[in-house]
């Protein structure tokens, strides 16, 4: 069975980290199975963990009164779910739901925050990687807000 640090080494978010850094991160992780329809986390809950998807599809949703869950984005294998664990006040801003059975690595946020507090180089590496994720998702969200397939689109 592959150790977690080996599994995460090939994931874009963690690629390029040293073996030692991967071991530190892997040491805070555990394998987790989540069934289709189950929640990974809910808006307002403490962000005390985050996930790496090994298999399956996860939706990020906002619950709107009277409209039900509005699906904002989906994430798949190789992608990280959650960054609120890294920034105070450490609370989820969205719901995350498994759309199909998922194999995940769940990371203990308190464990990792503790290691980052002691190892600032690891903290810098994680912060720059998660910031890249945030920027990429922010740009995608801006594109989404443009509603480019609205009525002004080409006729064919």
């Amino acid at each position: 069975m592959q150790a977690l640090d080996e599994l995460i080494a090939h994931v874009p978010t963690f690629a390029g980290l040293s073996e030692e850094q991967l071991k530190l991160i892997g040491g805070c992780g555990r394998n987790r199975h989540i069934g289709a329809g189950e929640m990974l986390f809910a808006e307002g809950d403490p962000a005390d963990h985050f996930f790496l998807i090994r298999r399956g599809l996860v939706a990020l949703e906002v619950h709107a009164p009277g409209r039900g869950p509005l699906r904002i984005e989906t994430l798949e294998h190789g992608e990280v779910v959650g960054w609120s664990w890294l920034f105070a006040p450490y609370r989820w801003q969205l719901d995350a739901r498994a759309l199909e059975a998922c194999e995940l690595i769940e990371f203990d946020a308190a464990c990792l925050r503790g290691k980052v507090a002691e190892d600032h180089e690891l903290g810098y590496q994680l912060m720059s990687r998660f910031a890249a994720n945030v920027i990429s998702r922010l740009q995608a969200t801006r594109f989404q807000l443009l509603d480019v397939y609205g009525k002004s689109e080409v006729t064919a």
Binding site: G68, A140, Y149, E153, T155, A156
Partner: protein, 287 residues
């Protein structure tokens, strides 16, 4: 007194010129989405479609509501019927979409150049479509499937506004079976949709593309621009990416100048260009 010369005999034209619409009858009609229909047409003269290359367009008019350029979305291997997928967004397209089987429409063309499907033989090809931009790409997809063994990996990335706005839903699965890796996403969705949600460029990272790929893209201009930027991150530069453009095409043969963009007349020199050639002009504001 010099005898009066009779005026020169006028040149005879047995064939109608490219500005004369040919009557085509609507054979069938299918509603694809709330505002988009696919029409199958045949010529009144010979009950056939048109020979065309993937990416070409025709000028169509219905009921005197004006002509519009519409890309051909049929199978180039089956020219016995002319297929157009049309979104109802203005008077002319509304009239076309309202046409019923048996109604006669005016058709000119086919016009313009084509997707370089033969040039890309031997390559990996990614097709990135946004919204109704899948319609002009469908003939290229079908042409590549017809010669599947001549290509490496074939990848389709398709983004639509919602699941109900997706085109050719039945065909997407068939294309997958016939050798395309199909990735689809919608910009927004309710709980009934179990596929991807997010913009089409988010699919690029998931498709494991490399610099070995060439690309074809069609959709709103901003979508094509962001697609070009995202593909460049994977080593697919502007010379390897082909886009289909749309401007105010009117004559279809490069005479009237309405569709000029920089040094090009898109109806004649396009509508397909490599991104490198067109990027500068598409990024100019107010052009």
């Amino acid at each position: 007194m010099a005898s009066l010369k009779s005026p020169p005999e006028r040149e005879r034209h047995d064939e109608p010129g490219p500005m004369v619409p040919e009557p085509f009858v609507v054979r069938s009609k299918r509603q694809d989405t709330s505002d988009t229909w696919t029409l199958e047409l045949t010529s009144v003269a010979d009950d056939a479609g048109l020979h065309f290359a993937p990416g070409q367009f025709t000028m169509i008019e219905a009921g005197g509501s004006g002509e519009v350029p519409i890309s051909i979305s049929g199978d180039p291997g089956e020219p016995d019927v002319l297929v157009h997928t049309v979104r109802s967004v203005g008077l002319a397209t509304q009239a076309i979409c309202k046409a019923q089987p048996g109604q006669v429409l005016g058709v000119r063309g086919p016009f313009g150049n084509s997707w370089p499907v033969e040039l890309l033989e031997g390559r990996d090809v990614v097709v990135a479509a946004g919204g109704i931009g899948l319609a002009p790409l469908r003939p290229a997809i079908l042409a590549m499937i017809a010669n599947r063994e001549r290509y490496g990996r074939l990848v389709l990335l398709y983004g639509a506004r919602t699941a109900s706005q997706m085109l050719y839903v039945d065909e997407l699965e068939r294309w997958r079976e016939e050798g395309f890796e199909v990735h689809a996403t919608v910009d927004s969705a309710g709980p009934e949709w179990l596929g991807h949600v997010g913009v089409v460029t988010r699919l690029i990272g998931r498709a494991r593309l490399t610099a070995s790929f060439a690309g074809l893209t069609c959709g709103p201009e901003i979508m094509m621009r962001l697609t070009a930027l995202a593909l460049a991150d994977f080593g697919i530069d502007g010379e390897q990416l082909y886009v289909s453009t749309e401007r105010n095409m009117q004559c279809g043969i490069g005479h009237c100048g309405h569709c000029q963009l920089g040094p090009w007349l898109l109806c004649r020199d396009g509508p397909v260009f490599d991104w490198q050639t067109l990027a500068h002009w598409l990024q100019l504001r107010d052009v």
